[in-house]
Symmetry: C2
Subunit: 245 residues, 2 copies
Amino acid sequence: MDEPKPTPRTLADPSATTAAAFVTDAVDRGALVTCFGRCTVEYEGRAASELAPGDRHVMLKPDGTALVHTDEGQKPVNWQPPGCEHDARVGDDALVLESTRTSPDERLVVSVSDVALVAAFDPTDDESIELVGTEADLKRRILADPALLEPGFTPLATERDTPAGAVDIYGEDDEGRTVVVELKRRRVGPDAVGQLHRYVEALERDLHTDAELRGILVAPSVTERAKALLAEEGFEFVPLTPREE
Amino acid sequence: MDEPKPTPRTLADPSATTAAAFVTDAVDRGALVTCFGRCTVEYEGRAASELAPGDRHVMLKPDGTALVHTDEGQKPVNWQPPGCEHDARVGDDALVLESTRTSPDERLVVSVSDVALVAAFDPTDDESIELVGTEADLKRRILADPALLEPGFTPLATERDTPAGAVDIYGEDDEGRTVVVELKRRRVGPDAVGQLHRYVEALERDLHTDAELRGILVAPSVTERAKALLAEEGFEFVPLTPREE
DNA sequence: GTTTGGATATCGGGA
DNA sequence: TCCCGATGTCCAAAC
């Protein structure tokens, strides 16, 4: 036998009844279901929303995820996170797709008045993605070559805990002064300076030290406002990217 | 004539050559294209990633968005934001879907070795979504009834600009003291306290005032760590949700 | 379970 | 365009 192939099943322009039976069966089988057609969408939960009729693409995943996509944008216009229960039925001459969950109580209802296509797939995907260029990579770069931060820098700990949260890298400069390092994989704004500020303050209290700690922000670049805040707080900036140039 | 219906076209188990021609034509027409099958995915841009063969669902939108979904999770495993150019071709006996953009330079390549189904839709969707329960709703609640914050509170401005960013609500209490209000639509952690801290500091400098400003965080609830930080900084907390209970 | 902070975050508004 | 903060953020790791 050949290597197993995904087995799609599709229905074009089905009636609401036919489509509901098809989707119910597919969801029960643990298939990934897609549906395209004219529909309205209601959501009620952490927030609430309504969407007037339009052509959209609906995806129901076997893990309980529901996604409603329009022809624009990267984010679904409505969705439901993993862990929901999917249900398909006929209501008011339309195919009604409902995904619900508890804690928090949330409900997504898609009412498809004109079903253009429904399709069901049985996907198998055991592979996991390998991603590089993250903040973890930036940390590894510095730990592998601490001089990238500055000559004489010695890392003492990573993820050192403080009352304000964990410090990315904690170490010492060549004169024995304590250094708090905050890492960001991309250009930083004022929020990152606030974060560094919290850590330095917390660590100064934690260490009962009179000596002032050095705070260093490491990122590819920094906005003007963040640069001004850094200067005000007496912090430093070291330009560095997560990946070797 | 009937009201226009979405016009799907599909191909089940096509050859790579047939599928490439189909997708090229559909993309040129401005259609929304989906493809399900066994594929590998490469991404290179802000970060970089590789994904070994598995069954996935690919969506190409007419606005240049590309999404690759597995059977799990709400987020696509790989994607490309709006504004990309889609291209379909045959390479190495596979259907190759490539979405690229510049500034930043990014490239997503999906190589589908077994195409189970390709489908094309011509969606029309002029409707926009109505969402309630946002931070803007929380602001409207307080401005409509300032006593919700505290008796005697008088809002003076919203989005008041400071060197550290815009303050959500800026006002005065019943004793004439300046009040800085930061709003959050949901339970808040330490980051929100840091944000409030930045605004209060910036405004104190901006106003050249000796009097201490009051900082108030408004949210449905607050974490323990954030509560401790609030106390340390001398800030206050007012529990309030974006929607009436 | 909650909390915390990263993310190829995405998205919209404003300058 | 960049900058900035909200998001039904999502998500995983730590606790």
